[in-house]
Symmetry: C2
Subunit: 450 residues, 2 copies
């Protein structure tokens, strides 16, 4: 039951726009889910998208705004007045509203805030703007249901009803003391099955998992996943309840983190998408290519050291790309497994055990590959056995060294607080190219003597 | 507020185990979250973990079982009798219970099922075992709250209370007709604010997003993310409500999918972790290395074709690893962006536009890199300008071709229903090595004539 945009639908919309048939547009889009409409707007050109955006009412457009691709949202926001933006934000949850305000210029930001209708809402949004977007504070919203431990069940139900007006989904009822400090949570079931005179302090659950407002987003994600939570309360340094984070925001964190590791492994240093501008794509890709190019200079130099081999053993140079490729591939495999283990928190055991394991694995894989290489170089490529022996010895050594570099460089980076994912991709292939070629020709010189 | 295992805690537990102090163990672990206990068991050796597992009661151990690493769970299940396993399963939700049963051998499976206490529960579990684990049916659980459209609000509330006993978290109340066909959903708010005599059919919301029981897991994940759902109902081919999927299971799907793409990009073809056995790791890594090795044979052959250049232009061979590395890196970058775009459903526009874009990007990046290369080869490496010209021309061509291969191979694979992530990593670096070197020497031969 997945929504698919059809060409006919796009054509129909464009007809309505051309004829300024606003009623037709509302009829066609009125029943649609805001996420589907956002998908449609992303497919239209900018003027058409803006036209439709202005026709629909702000209850719908505010939600659409959140789902649009960054470029289109930015462009639409530019065309809206501060008052119009404020109308959109009045419809949104505080965390989503704060995210959109954060995208505005400083001057527009202040204008928009001054236009917000609901003062309480405005205060909450401003409060949220203080937090770094990669922290629990940056993720949390202010919409939550909380009750005082000193209340009776009756007061509680009355208060809750009022609070729930502003909260689209009630995940948990949090219990606080007079100082607003988080004390525990309340189960809806207990609330409904207890006498209305009972005090909350007698029935609430004292165990509640929470995060601090300055906890990193990835830590929050880890905790919510581990304990299967759909919402988690956020407290400040004094233990006061300041917000709650819901699972849908955490899914974005999980995906972004996975995407980031993947992009780094591929040598892309910024969050870009295929549809971003050429300049953005170039900026994300070029630094790694320059790094690889500079590494390439070193390989040229290293090969130059062994120029003497060219006269008698020129064939050795035919094998350099093969050796370099094997070093690169092995290094990337090793580093990827470590980076993923670090990300998923599944690494255990000592460094020494890991060392032994990597060497054993390299001997196993290296042995099999060396056997194939020896046979291939003799039968397929017609090299004499002595050359076969040289390249096989080199392959074995290169695989061991490459896997050790691939394993321990990310571990080292992680120890020093650097993102280990930096050590995958171009960085590891380039350094392994250099080491691999150096080892290869050193072994060849040792055996063949040139 | 993240739980961290301390050495002291492990030592304390081991002391209790040595002295068979079960009361001490229960005291220490009794208050802990099952996910934390699972983390502790993963750190202990197998006998210790089993000992603790048998001490704790089945309400706790059933949840722990779900969180353990695969090896440990498998080992513990082997040591439990069919009756003991059935006791664990009686405590679990149907979807989790079915996942655990699916891991058992055929004979043990039947024994365990015959030992299940709750017949209704057993029937649901058996029903779930029919579905492929990568489908909505494989993900769904039977625990849900549903009401008949013909009921009054009063009947509804009474029935719901009974149903909610078996459901730990009520996400939505689904409305069905007499044939159990999904008709819509009910908001808790409406239910509580309407007169008890009202018929459900008058107040329920007719729009509800659902999935078919044989929908793919990634499609379910896409839908739930897009519409920000915390649960989604599952229907069979006749539209009958057969289960519901919750967001926590979908998070696993999202993570697994991201991990799989990442591993394929790194040349790892099975889902392995750093702590898996050497044999498993070798099996996951070796096939890609063999592919790279065979590709390496071809590069040796290709270089052999240009042996004639060695006498006069031997220096050209020093640049082969550089050219191959650039081709590989560019190819991986392009393919990663496409693979991610396909996975996140963010690719739009025509193939032709994409072609133009890739070529423009290649010209931009290639131009900058060629300028650096030309200067570097002249000043750093002391090559004559004519050689600089040759390698720069080669670099430009190689970058264009490599980015086109990187862009269009995954698109092509996707079109033919093959996982495009296969085209990242070793596959793309190997084929780009070969093309890159062939182009490089062909251009060199054209310009230098050898």
């Amino acid at each position: 039951m997945e929504f698919k945009i059809s060409k006919d639908l796009i054509l129909e919309l464009e007809q309505y726009i051309v004829h300024k048939d606003d009623a037709g547009l509302e009829r066609l889009l009125g029943e649609m889910h805001h996420a589907d409409i956002a998908e449609i707007l992303d497919e239209l050109d900018f003027d058409e998208a803006t036209y439709i955006f202005k026709v629909l009412d702000s209850e719908k457009t505010s939600e659409i705004l959140l789902e649009l691709e960054d470029d289109l949202r930015e462009n639409i926001l530019k065309r809206l007045s501060a008052k119009e933006i404020a109308e959109e934000l009045d419809e949104l949850n505080t965390d989503d509203a704060a995210d959109i305000i954060a995208e505005l210029s400083q001057s527009k930001k202040e204008e928009v805030i001054s236009e917000l209708d609901d003062l309480e809402h405005a205060k909450d949004i401003i409060d949220l703007l203080r937090y770094d977007e990669d922290t629990a504070g940056g993720l949390m919203g202010k919409e939550l249901v909380k009750v005082n431990e000193n209340w009776s069940v009756l007061t509680c139900v009355k208060e809750m009803r009022a609070q729930a007006e502003n909260v689209s989904r009630v995940h948990s009822i949090y219990v606080v003391d007079d100082e607003n400090r988080l004390k525990g949570r309340l189960s809806l079931k207990d609330l409904l099955t207890t006498s209305t005179k009972t005090q909350i302090s007698d029935i609430y659950i004292k165990k509640v998992t929470f995060v601090n407002v300055d906890a990193e987003d990835v830590e929050v994600a880890r905790i919510m996943q581990k304990y299967d939570l759909e919402a988690i309360p956020v407290v400040d340094a004094m233990g006061r309840l300041v917000g709650r984070i819901t699972i849908d925001d955490i899914i974005d964190v999980i995906r972004d983190e996975a995407d980031k590791d993947y992009q780094l492994a591929a040598g892309i240093s910024q969050d870009v998408e295929a549809d971003d501008s050429i300049l953005e794509l170039s900026k994300a890709r070029l630094p790694w290519l320059v790094l690889a190019l500079l590494g390439g200079f070193i390989t040229v130099r290293v090969l130059g050291l062994f120029e003497g081999a060219m006269a008698e053993h020129g064939n050795l140079f035919f094998f350099t790309p093969l050796i370099a490729a094997m070093a690169g591939n092995v290094g990337v495999q090793s580093s990827a497994i470590i980076v993923q283990g670090l990300a998923n928190n599944t690494l255990s055991g000592s460094l020494f055990r890991r060392l032994i394991k990597e060497i054993s694995l390299s001997l196993l894989n290296g042995g099999i590959l060396a056997a194939i290489l020896f046979l291939g170089s003799y039968f397929l490529l017609g090299e004499p056995p002595i050359i076969g022996f040289v390249i096989c010895a080199a392959l074995m050594s290169v695989i061991i060294i490459a896997s050790l570099i691939g394993t321990f460089v990310p571990l080292l980076l992680d120890k020093f607080g650097v993102d280990p994912a930096l050590a995958t991709g171009p960085f590891i292939t380039t350094s392994n190219d250099i080491c691999g070629i150096l080892i290869y020709f050193s072994i060849a010189r040792m055996i063949l003597g040139f």
